[in-house]
Symmetry: none
Subunit: 228 residues, 4 copies
């Protein structure tokens, strides 16, 4: 109780500081001292908790993707229709921009750093696998057309999300709350619309159908948020 910051808290303190610094200057452009300074700890303490600067970044990646995986898994297990599930994934992912812009900035900017992806592939791969299963089940129940590879569809869907985040990160896209909501609707509409069989529930206004209009999103509290 009286302990101000436990060991684990100190570790998180450093991670949070690293996210801010990486977001501000980029991984390669920042020095280890910047992170320590931002965290308000001594230079070498970082090396008590992490074996290298790179491990700090890897930890950020892993932690985030683990959360992401948890969120997607939760949605996947909800039993809702596939289009609604994709919509929720889009909502979780895209809303995280406003929640934790620094973290998203780091992920977007450094996502393809070679060494990480090799290792992080597990978490990322599982997240993609979950998306893939959502698409597959949509196909099985006849909601989605069956002539497309679920794998490719999950990639298309996730790529769309990532590019939207990139637009916000780079300041090339307006990101007011309503802009974010519109982006969620648009990506859900386009991708789900393209995935759904031609006449399934199509009444002329696109995928999410009436649900959208009926206040389709009570799940906000249910879904694990993407961030700490």
């Amino acid at each position: 109780m009286s302990e101000r910051t436990s060991s684990e808290e100190k570790r998180q303190l450093i991670l949070d500081a690293a996210v801010r610094v990486f977001a501000r200057k980029g991984y390669h452009e920042c020095r280890v001292g910047d992170i320590a300074e931002e965290a308000g700890v001594a230079y070498g303490l970082l090396y008590h908790y992490f074996s290298s600067k790179e491990e700090v970044l890897e930890t950020i990646f892993r932690d985030t993707w683990t959360m992401m995986l948890g969120a997607v898994s939760g949605i996947e297990g909800s039993g809702e229709p596939a289009p609604e599930q994709l919509r929720k994934v889009a909502a979780v992912v895209l809303r995280s921009w406003k929640r934790t812009p620094d973290l998203i900035g780091v992920l977007v900017r450094e996502i393809t750093r070679s060494p990480h992806l090799q290792d992080e592939t597990k978490e990322i791969g599982e997240a993609f696998a979950a998306l893939e299963r959502i698409v597959s089940r949509g196909q099985e129940v006849g909601t989605f057309r069956a002539d497309l590879e679920p794998r490719l569809c999950s990639i298309i869907f996730y790529g769309a999300l990532e590019e939207l985040l990139t637009g916000w990160v780079l300041g090339q896209l307006p990101d007011e709350d309503e802009d974010v909501e519109r982006a969620i609707r648009t990506v859900a509409t386009v991708v789900c619309g393209g995935l759904m069989v031609a006449d399934a529930g199509r009444d002329g206004d696109g995928v999410p159908g009436k649900a959208e209009k009926e206040g389709f999103e009570p799940s906000k509290e249910v879904v694990t948020p993407l961030t700490p």
Copy 2:
């Protein structure tokens, strides 16, 4: 003929070598000496043609995006229907993986690295603008539904393409010729399908419709390939 390598050829020699080295080790992980060695020239000669290591990367970016912009512009001006145009953009972009995997690898891995995007934004921005106009025109002629922002749609579309390329670059996705063609069809089907108005030309199988079956792609020679 007797001239071994002209100045301009030497410059390109270095650029090509840089692409291979960046693809192999990444921009930050490679040394200027690696590029020179790969090009078979001396250490300092690189500085006759480029003012810095970074300018080499920027040149690769600019050249490629200029080509990309040219290709997209060409497609945009073809007068074909919007879905067909998007399809061709997808074809040009995705087929470039097999043509020039190293170059794509560099673009995918380094694409969001901070300092570059500031400058490259112009070319990239114009490419996005062209995609946006394609979507807009599809909306104007009633092919695409009008209730979606063209900007967001272009982002979704391009994000899908980039994520597919990423899958190939990272070796997480099969990339035989038929896989590439399937990816082209899939992204065109999904995105165009999601963009099109519910009953416009829908005959139950999605966007590319009959066109696909009628040998829809004589454009291979027409379209400027994405690479040198």
Copy 3:
């Protein structure tokens, strides 16, 4: 009895651990943490008993040279003939390799490292002085030729011992018990033989003469062993 480890024992525990670690990795190459780990104590406890890492090494040096000095002094005061005294010194020094190889390894490897010799010079110097006196007395009683400087002789003698130890430490010389005994005989024979006046006791078989054959070494228990 019930006391697990007294303060003094803990101190010695750390010293013993340090000897093992220094022998294994060398003084400069090992970390303070290595010593603590080897001793099974916590990081900072070392600083309760020693003021620095260097003091640990100095303590090892001083303790050992104090013992060495004690052994040599004991031999010097035995009243035996000079050749026999040198022989016993050789025996004490060289046999210590098998007794405490780690300690000898540390002494051999770190012996001339700069800062230590300044301080240790006192003990080392006294040991050399004792050797010198042994030689001098041999000269006074006519056993050793008088035309050689005792100081140089003591250096030659000790250098021979140290180089033999070095050969064992570096694994370049066989070190079975009989090899050690042969080394003792050889160094005594060569050095004493060279020191002795041409015809003094020379009966054709070398220095230690009959003494050697008569079981010349009952001193094993008498002489203070070189090690704790």
Copy 4:
């Protein structure tokens, strides 16, 4: 001709500077910058010629031992009597103190640095082997007593030389020219005296016998000096 310092000369410049700095402060206590400063070159240039600070020391060791080996080999092949050969080795080794005190200081102080001896063992080992052969031949022709192991004798002999050098390096021993010459005589007398058969050439004054008095050392110019 007009070239002030060739590449090889620059390399040697750095080595010479390193010897001076190592002699002054010791290997561990000096910084790479000290070497560069002493050599009058830039910090990083050292890394053009050597891969690390340690390689600089190793090069000094190897070069010197190669010279030592050459000198000993030359003496070994001279066909002179074994005692005279040992005497010349002593002369070459001990006189090197006055010629190149810094170099000797480095060798004496750092000789047992673990990693080096593993590698340098080849040159050092060959030098010992040459000494061993000198002793063996002395035994074969009946000059040296045959009941001693040549290997041990070579170690005893070299240890004596090294300890004398150590005495000078540490300033514990007078090192005027006459002191050096006396040390040469003493070590030759003692070791050769101990090695020789009791009455072989013994006329009461030890080994070098008359030869010494007859101007026994015209070899000064003949023998390869130990230093560059």
